[in-house]
Symmetry: C2
Subunit: 123 residues, 2 copies
């Protein structure tokens, strides 16, 4: 990470290394009611951060609307490992059955990244 | 897009074609106050959708917290074209100066995608 970048001020923003790395873009619509979702989501963020190859995670949900969580990983093997984690698999199953009216997962390869401090340079 | 996918029910979720394509992941922390942001953000979504190569856009912001907007594009040239759009350039400049305390932009290549309907198949 370049010195002088202001990311450290904002704990919700991931402090990823220079690309290349991978991003898993998880877009979802919740079903009604909590049904244990909030605590499970917090636990999954905690558990993801302990996995090999984890680089960071960012999450946002508009009230009553779309949620987007992006997790960053060093390689595809790390993403497969996290998908296969037993506790995570149980949460995935509950997600399909209970928490999410719909969702979509996209696996992508991050090629370039720039921030507020560096964008004026024409990156 | 596969038939039988339930995405049409949820207007906030992008209906993208099968990969490969590109995703621009825009993560941001707003500064305080609207300062014309909401109307400009709506205008930028409208304008983006008119650009060549645009495939879709998804956006979420937690109250008082992180915002994530992911736009999908057919190729890198389309992303460069949108970045260079004059009206968009003006909004980018106001974003840097006024609307965003911090932000980060990641350009990524989407390699795989699956949804609630297809995820049970082990994708």
């Amino acid at each position: 990470m370049k010195s002088g970048e202001p990311d450290e001020t904002w704990p919700g923003m991931a402090r990823t290394p220079e690309p290349p790395y991978y991003a898993v873009i998880f877009t979802s619509m919740r079903s009604a009611g909590d049904k244990g979702y909030d605590s499970a989501a917090a636990r999954m963020e905690e558990l993801a951060a302990q996995q090999p190859g984890f680089l960071g995670i960012e999450s946002a949900r508009s009230p009553g609307g779309l949620g987007i969580t992006v997790s960053y990983w060093s390689d595809l093997a790390s993403i497969s490992g996290w998908k296969a984690n037993l506790e995570h698999r149980s949460a995935q199953e509950t997600g399909r059955r209970v928490w999410y009216a719909d969702y979509r997962i996209r696996i992508s390869h991050v090629q370039r990244a720039y921030g507020k401090a560096s964008s004026a340079l024409g990156a």
